[in-house]
């Protein structure tokens, strides 16, 4: 008989009560109704367990660190037991050859049926030698494991967009997962790291219902369809025109909006302002720092975290931080000067041609 999640949880000593609690918590974070909790419970009791292989490429492991700190200890327990059985080289018990053997076995046994979760990304330069897990370039391992996967989850900004290792000039040619795995559905869960509750909810959704509804950029709609700015608790100060000008001014103490000190909330899609972090305790804006836009593509290449408009010219062109304003005002000033000069020249030309005309007229 094939094993279900419920069988697995019971075997691991999780009570039915805790199991149901988990189902309703997850349903709530997914924005599902009460019936949703029952659906999740039913799916977990009846559907065969779907193995997950979790690979680590070029990364800092912050996604895993976040993940194992999901707010409700139960959530992480449950989800971890869904995952760790198969393969996650960072947190699995086995290591070395033993671990690699387990990977082979999972791939063989669950061909076409396992979920591949990728944390970090593959660097392509010099045949991928800048990331070598288990003696082989990561890009090869990624291609190999992805070949027989059912779907791929791109954990974090590294796997989704490239993040810091793909920032200019990107010496190792790190690329996001969807540039290498092109023939499988890829679910992007960006963020540096993503919010733990979002990660567990995405995994649960995937295991119970299948691929969640995605937006045009491939992110699960339920967590990434609105901006930080749309649900930010400092938003009334934004609308009122009350801004922090410096981090030690009166406005900062009053909790005003951080727009003028570079908050990227208005251009960042993520759930931080609603789900928050560390069991809902806080999130960057709540602790007084603007959003840096870590879940957006290219956020490292957009210049200062403390200015509203990004740097758009390379160093050497108009100083290190030529913003749209500097470029635009220079263009307007140069044009203005040209116009004044042209007007002056025109006036001189006209008056000289007039006076020669007058002279001609006088002669006649």
């Amino acid at each position: 008989m094939t094993e279900t999640y419920y069988d697995l949880f019971r075997r691991q000593g999780i009570s039915r009560r805790s199991f149901l609690q988990f189902c309703s918590l997850t349903a709530a974070s997914l924005g599902l109704s009460k019936a949703g909790a029952a659906e999740i419970a039913k799916a977990m009791e009846t559907k065969p367990r779907q193995p997950v292989i979790w690979l680590h490429g070029l990364e800092c492991t912050c996604c895993t660190e976040a993940f194992i700190r999901s707010s409700h200890p139960l959530v992480s327990d449950v989800v971890l037991s869904m995952l760790s059985l198969d393969y996650d080289d960072t947190i699995m018990a086995a290591a070395g050859h033993q671990a690699e053997e387990q990977l082979e076995e999972t791939i063989k046994k669950y061909k076409g049926n396992y979920i591949l979760a990728v944390e970090g990304n593959p660097p392509l330069a010099d045949d991928g030698i800048y990331c070598i897990p288990g003696g082989k370039p990561f890009v090869e391992k990624l291609r190999y494991v992805a070949k027989d996967a059912k779907a791929v989850i791109s954990w974090g900004s590294c796997a989704s967009w490239g993040c810091v290792q793909a920032a200019k000039p990107n010496p190792t040619q790190a690329v996001p997962v969807h540039k290498v795995v092109t023939d499988k559905p890829v679910i992007k869960v960006p963020g540096c790291p993503p919010i733990p509750e979002v990660m567990t909810a995405v995994v649960t959704y995937l295991l119970t219902y299948g691929i969640p509804p995605l937006d045009a950029q491939g992110r699960p709609k339920m967590f990434y369809s609105q901006r930080i700015h749309d649900k930010c608790y400092r938003r009334p100060h934004f609308d009122a025109g009350q801004f922090v000008e410096k981090f030690d001014d009166e406005g900062a103490r009053m909790g005003y909006c951080l727009y003028k000190v570079g908050c990227k909330g208005p251009t960042t899609y993520n759930a931080c302002s609603t789900v928050r972090w560390n069991e809902g305790v806080s999130f960057p804006i709540q602790s007084g720092h603007g959003c840096i836009g870590c879940s957006e593509e290219n956020f490292w290449d957009k210049g200062s975290f403390y200015e509203h408009l990004p740097t758009i010219l390379p160093p050497g062109w108009g100083g290190i931080d030529a913003t749209a304003d500097k470029i635009g005002l220079t263009a307007v000033a140069v044009t203005g000067a040209a116009v004044v000069a042209h007007a002056a020249l025109s006036a001189i030309k006209q008056s000289s041609s007039k006076s020669s005309n007058d002279k001609l007229a006088a002669k006649e």
């Binding site: 369809s225 003028k260 251009t267 041609s353």
Partner: protein
């Protein structure tokens, strides 16, 4: 009066008055002027808001009003522009010149250089033009028309962000976000294209008055009564 086909240059007199700008074009022109001014002012304020005001957030709504003015003017600006596009099809030949510089025509290119040399003081006598001269057409097309199109598209893409993915606005403008990858790039492009319009305005206003004073035909009054009149009757 004989007019060169694609360039609009008068090649043979006698000069007669021509009705160039029909009412919809003039109306559009002045609505655009009236809307661009508040759009630029509020745009600057959105990019770099005025200093904070104190008090309870409940009782003030300053920045929201600034944005509200920007969005309202943007809507009028856009509707007027759409109407203008319609008129390019419905109106006379001069209604099309903003949208279609005749870059395939040799006469047009010659006209462009004639006018360029004239402005560089390398050619003494100005020509007479009925519509826009090719040089003016180029400036209008590149700075004004492209600038406006980019402003409208990026502006609406930013506006759509207030609604979530999946909403009607995002269905209509989500592709801009997919195209640019991140909304920060769209914001910057929106901000930059404002300067294209500002540069255009500086040149446009100067040229309109200069030609009115020094050129051979009326310019400023043409956008008021629609009639291009020539100062030199006959040839």
């Amino acid at each position: 009066m004989k007019i060169e086909k694609h360039s609009g240059r008068v090649i043979e007199g006698p000069h007669e008055n021509v009705y160039v700008f029909e009412a919809p074009v003039r109306l559009w022109h002045w609505i655009t002027v009236l809307m661009i001014i508040p759009l630029v002012v509020t745009g600057f304020l959105i990019g770099d808001p005025p200093s904070s005001i104190g008090g309870e957030a409940t009782f003030t709504y300053e920045f929201a009003w600034i944005r509200m003015i920007h969005f309202s003017c943007a809507m009028i600006f856009t509707v007027a522009f759409l109407m203008r596009i319609y008129w390019a099809f419905a109106g006379n030949r001069y209604a099309r010149s903003l949208f279609l510089p005749a870059i395939w025509s040799i006469a047009w290119w010659k006209g462009l250089f004639r006018q360029l040399f004239y402005y560089l003081f390398l050619k003494k006598e100005p020509d007479s033009w009925v519509g826009h001269n090719p040089l003016a057409q180029t400036g209008m097309f590149v700075l004004f028309l492209l600038g406006t199109i980019v402003l409208i598209i990026t502006g609406f893409a930013l506006y759509a962000q207030q609604s979530a993915w999946g909403s009607g606005w995002m269905v209509a403008f989500g592709w801009v976000h997919t195209l640019f990858g991140d909304a920060q790039a769209i914001r910057t492009l929106h901000h930059l294209s404002m300067y294209a319009i500002l540069v255009f305005m500086v040149v446009h206003i100067y040229m309109a008055f200069r030609e009115d004073i020094m050129g051979k035909e009326t310019v400023v009054s043409t956008m008021i009564n629609g009639i291009r009149a020539f100062k030199t009757k006959g040839h």
